[in-house]
């Protein structure tokens, strides 16, 4: 494995109409790493993924995917990338086997039948190979889509919210598979909204309103945020969220079950902010969660008015 990043983009920018959807995004992912791509809805995650896999041409910026120029070698890049779209992108009126066979043909794969057979076997769908893809349940559709995306053994896998609407067990199995693929050297860039999934990534990149706000391992991102958090436990703690959030020094407050989770950038100010309720409620310092960091980042981004509304 070389040291050159599998994905390296600099200043990637995309505008639709007058709106800048992706604004000078830099991203580098080393081979064999799983990078979680996070951000609120409409933050430009899908657009960035599409630019990386050649479905959109960036208005500005440059980059290399597997050493190939993003702007001039889109077709060569497509050969080596597997892309799983947010919406089920296979043909519902073709059978499972027919879908895989189609993909195999499109990528001009050798030993087509053997590959399709092997993929069906891995999926555990050999007995249902003749079933229409459209009739599968959400979890199975997602597995099939993944199998189709990696059928041509791509070196990079891009997944756009692959586990939306999938049950926890299927999600776990899905992630086990992603890790297995990464072990074999595949580079994975996966967008998600789930914090538990973000924590299963080697590294995460957070984008809001088209701007990359944080990038690194989970610990790095949390540390870089400079947030500290308190957890309050006591009678009625969970009902104080709105009230406490108004206090100076509190970035946000959210109830978790019967407890209240509070965080802010200045630990002293945070302590002072919750002091009035100290008799009734016991406050203890806890590490800030990834969710704290992201919600805080998103709010700061909005405040910083990076948004350029059309």
């Amino acid at each position: 494995m070389s040291d050159a990043p599998a994905i390296a983009v600099r200043g990637l920018t995309k505008r639709f109409g007058g709106r800048t959807v992706v604004d000078h995004v830099d991203l580098a992912v080393q081979p064999g790493r799983i990078c979680g791509f996070l951000g609120p809805n409409g933050s430009g995650k899908t657009t960035t993924l599409r630019m990386i896999c050649g479905l959109l041409i960036p208005d500005e910026g440059e980059g290399e995917v597997l050493g190939l120029d993003l702007r001039t070698s889109r077709r060569a890049i497509k050969q080596q990338i597997g892309y799983m779209t947010q919406k089920f992108g296979l043909f519902s009126d073709l059978s499972i086997a027919e879908n895989l066979e189609f993909i195999a043909r499109v990528y001009s794969l050798d030993n087509r039948n053997a590959r399709v057979e092997a993929a069906l076997e891995r999926l555990g769908l050999t007995s249902r190979a003749g079933h229409l893809a459209g009739k599968l349940s959400g979890g199975w559709k997602q597995r099939l889509a993944l199998a189709a995306a990696v059928l041509h053994e791509p070196r990079i896998l891009l997944l756009d919210e692959p586990t939306a609407g999938v049950d926890p067990q299927a999600r776990r199995e899905f992630w086990d598979q992603i890790h297995a693929l990464a072990r074999e050297g595949m580079t994975v860039l996966v967008s998600t909204h789930y914090m538990d999934e973000a924590e299963r990534c080697h590294e995460i990149a957070y984008i809001a309103y088209g701007v990359m706000l944080a990038h690194g391992t989970t610990d790095q991102v949390i540390a870089a945020s400079g947030l500290s958090a308190l957890e309050g436990e006591g009678p009625g703690a969970d009902r104080l969220a709105a009230e406490i959030e108004e206090r100076p020094g509190v970035a946000m407050a959210a109830p978790f079950g019967t407890t209240l989770h509070v965080c802010g950038t200045d630990p002293e100010a945070l302590r002072a902010a919750v002091a009035p309720w100290a008799e009734r409620i016991t406050w203890r310092a806890v590490p800030p969660t990834l969710e704290d960091v992201f919600i805080n980042l998103m709010r700061t981004a909005t405040d910083g008015s990076v948004v350029e509304q059309a």
Partner: protein, 373 residues
């Protein structure tokens, strides 16, 4: 209950207002139909082009020609003197009638020898020439009534002084189906090729499979060709069905070359497919593409000369029809099947179709990109 119905009505109106396709349906269709049926279509076409092939330049022949003109049905488009020139014009469709005045016409007329006048009609479309033909005898009689004055009045007695021989070319029995069945080829191919291609492309966009396709190494041109081939094959099956029915059921004569017909049919099928593809790049839902195809089909059926006489339409409608591929294809099919056109006669209409194929093909390829959005 009324409040709930009101809620539905309100919601429905809002959705309608937001759906451009619905607007096309609701406004464009009546406007187009009004324009076509109200202004363009005329089942009693006048000012049909007539060629005079006269070997007798006399007061009588001139007066007959002028009488024909006054009926309003005929416009003298050409005066020819060489033999066979009239037939050529008729075959090419440049004129719909040829009036042949034989030499010695006036001498024989004066002598009371009942000379013959030959009116050759392009009878491929009996409906368009019928009313004009019906007016001929009357017009000639009236013209001669004026000219055969004095002692010649006796020539006006029955039988009429002139024997008008009517020759229906290309469709001697004046059977309508000989004209409509070949025309149907154009309509059937337009309906299926344009609408189905447009829908098959938008279906990919609508169902989200297009993004997946575009992420693969498939090139746009490969997607296009791959999509077109099966429809193309289907089009050929349709052509064979119509031709077999034409030959066996309707007994439509087939005068020209089958190879030439097949060649222009392939060309027209490609034009339709390219047009369907172009339409699909303009819209992103199957319903919209269906409506757009209907918007194309309606004038294709009504203005192309398939259902109503082409020359009966006002000039603007004729120009509009010239822009529609079926207009040219219908001329080609009728020309080859009924008039026995060879490739030289077919050349100009074929050239138009080739230009259209290039135009639509270019637009389709340019608009259909390998990127989303």
């Amino acid at each position: 209950m009324w409040e709930r119905i009101g809620a539905m009505v309100f919601k429905e109106v809002r959705q309608m207002a937001r759906d451009p396709g619905m607007f096309v349906m609701m406004l464009m269709f009546p406007i187009i139909q009004l324009a076509i049926f109200g202004f363009a279509i005329n089942s009693d076409p006048r000012h049909l082009p007539l060629a005079i092939e006269s070997k007798d330049n006399s007061v009588y022949s001139r007066s007959i020609v002028s009488a024909l003109r006054t009926t309003g049905y005929f416009d003298v488009a050409k005066v020819v003197t060489t033999y066979g020139e009239g037939d050529r014009l008729l075959s090419e469709g440049e004129v719909q009638f040829v009036l042949t005045v034989p030499a010695d016409f006036s001498r024989d007329l004066v002598r009371g020898q009942r000379p013959q006048l030959l009116l050759t009609v392009d009878a491929t479309d009996p409906a368009s020439t019928g009313p004009a033909v019906a007016a001929v005898n009357e017009a000639i009689a009236r013209a001669l009534a004026r000219d055969l004055a004095g002692p010649l009045t006796m020539r006006l007695q029955t039988p009429p002084p002139v024997d008008v021989v009517l020759h229906r070319s290309f469709n001697p029995e004046g059977i309508t189906s000989h004209n409509t069945v070949p025309g149907l080829l154009a309509i059937i191919l337009s309906m299926t090729m344009v609408a189905l291609t447009a829908m098959s492309v938008t279906r990919e966009t609508e169902q989200g499979t297009m993004e997946n396709l575009l992420a693969t190494p498939l090139r746009p041109i490969e997607v296009m060709i791959g999509k077109i081939v099966p429809y193309f094959a289907m089009g050929l099956v349709q052509v064979l069905v119509v031709l077999l029915a034409a030959a066996i059921v309707f007994e439509v004569p087939f005068v020209g070359s089958f190879g030439l017909l097949l060649a222009v049919t392939l060309l027209f099928t490609l034009v339709s497919l390219a047009l369907g593809f172009t339409l699909s790049t303009l819209v992103d839902s199957q319903i919209m593409s269906m409506q757009l195809s209907m918007l194309y089909l309606l004038p294709s059926i009504l203005l192309s000369g398939f259902a109503f006489p082409f020359r009966g339409m006002p000039v603007w409608a004729q120009w509009l029809a010239e822009l529609l591929p079926p207009t040219h294809y219908i001329r080609l099919v009728r020309g080859v099947m009924l008039k026995g056109w060879d490739w030289q006669l077919a050349l100009s209409e074929t050239a138009v179709l080739v230009v259209m194929l290039l135009a639509f093909g270019t637009i389709a390829v340019r608009r259909y990109r390998d990127t989303v959005a």
